[in-house]
């Protein structure tokens, strides 16, 4: 039974800080408490816990255009966030977890805005048969969260560009994304804003959960969030004194350490999931096929097949690529180290970049 509701809105739009706050809130949530966390990320591709970033996302393109790659704790596939998207997270003890009820909050919020929302078989939300909310789940030591996207006015061109497969052939284990047709809620409600949607979610939360409560309830926020005070118990309007805003103490050190984890190369790229990337191209001086065995973000073995006249090319390229990080800058400087003709070096760098 939920007896305390909290609403938190992240102040910033940095995905690593926002994911850190989400995890810190999960550490913090107690039995009988429910936190609704609302947050937005600037230009970010977020992949599922067990996904291969190179398989799901054009990492080099995203980085070049100032975007972020982030990995979340929950499962499922890759999604694109920008400021046209609102993320929600319901956090609580496993015993208080009630997915149908949480989905009801989302549906009611949508209905109150005139959006014809329906659940899909994968617990996503659809309107007119197209997905506007992808949902995923995480549980750890008796605590759980359910989170998802709500696409209000996301740049669809970027969704296509960043989430399109690269030219490389990738043989990899891990969880693959399931492609869906997506839609922005603005198509149904042209003047919808993130603010409207947030307010509708908070009202729906109060409607669905406040009947549980028999004491006056305030909504409290950790210091990194904007305070919101929304929920009133149905049964205590006059009799109960106003409860002061409860501090939702999130440990600052915890938060900082978690931010560093989410930002780290190790978390993003260093997964112990070996895979092989192959790319090929024909150049005026010969055809080249590169086969790279990658694990924990590092090329463990490189194989070069070429019919180029220079028979030292293959062994030299193999030697510098083995042990090199599978990242744009590192690959570039590795190839620069073998003094190839400038044009050939540029062509090989471009070829490698198609795999990123």
């Amino acid at each position: 039974m939920i007896h305390k509701l909290f609403v938190c809105r992240a102040r910033g739009t940095n995905p690593y800080e926002n994911l850190a706050l989400e995890e810190a809130l999960l550490h913090r949530v107690g039995e009988g408490e429910l936190i609704l966390y609302l947050w937005q990320n600037e230009r970010t591709v977020v992949i599922g816990k067990n996904q291969n970033p190179w398989k799901e996302c054009r990492t080099a393109l995203l980085e070049e255009e100032g975007g972020h790659l982030a990995r979340r704790l929950s499962g499922g596939g890759a999604v694109f966030h920008d400021l046209g998207n609102l993320n929600f997270t319901f956090l609580m003890s496993a015993g208080d977890y009630d997915l149908p009820r949480q989905l009801t909050v989302l549906e009611r919020a949508c209905q109150s805005l005139g959006i014809p929302a329906q659940r899909s078989g994968r617990n996503d939300l659809l309107a007119d048969g197209r997905k506007f909310s992808g949902n995923a789940f995480y549980s750890h030591a008796g605590k759980s969260y359910h989170h998802g996207t709500l696409m209000v006015d996301v740049n669809m061109e970027n969704v296509q560009r960043y989430l399109s497969p690269s030219k490389a052939k990738l043989a990899a284990k891990g969880v693959d994304s399931v492609r869906s047709r997506v839609v922005n809620l603005r198509e149904f409600v042209p003047d919808l804003t993130i603010e409207h949607l947030s307010d509708a979610l908070i009202s729906a939360l109060a409607e669905v959960y406040c009947s549980d409560m028999n004491v006056g309830t305030s909504i409290a926020c950790p210091p990194t969030c904007d305070p919101l005070q929304i929920c009133h118990s149905a049964r205590s309007e006059e009799s109960a004194p106003a409860t002061p805003v409860l501090p939702l103490n999130v440990d600052e050190l915890d938060l900082r350490a978690l931010t560093e984890k989410y930002r780290s190369e190790e978390w993003l790229y260093g997964q112990k999931l070996p895979f092989t990337a192959s790319v090929e191209e024909r150049f005026p001086w010969g055809g080249v096929e590169l086969q790279l065995d990658v694990n924990e973000g590092v090329i463990r073995a490189a194989k070069v097949y070429t019919d180029a006249m220079d028979d030292t090319l293959a062994p030299r390229v193999e030697a510098v690529l083995s042990g090199c990080a599978f990242r744009g800058e590192a690959l570039k400087s590795a190839l620069a180290g073998i003094c190839l003709p400038a044009e050939q070096e540029g062509q090989l760098v471009s070829l490698l970049e198609t795999a990123l």
Partner: protein
Amino acid sequence: MAIPNELRYTKDHEWLKEEDGVAVIGITDFAQNALGDVVFINLPEAGDEVVAGESFGDVESVKAVSDLLSPVSGIVKAVNEELIDAPEMLNSDPYGAWIIKVEQVTDREELLDADDYETLCAEEG
């Protein structure tokens, strides 16, 4: 739902069997049923240290990741690599599909016997 008598259980729905100082660990029938179809497992490597009550890997069912918590502290002796290619064995044979074996066990979580575990499952329904 199966709860074999000879095993010990954690409140987080892992089972444990100790053979010659080696702890064999898996997830219970209740756990696999609650998870639904497991599509992926993250395993530690032999030689890694595990700590009682802390995560040693995770399983992913449809869009849901659940951390696996170790009931003991010790050193991973072996991991069941068959599960990497066939994680669905956790659903079809939860007590046969062991996940890790831990040696040099120094510490244990509070463990339940089959009767107490059955009561816990009934409470969580």
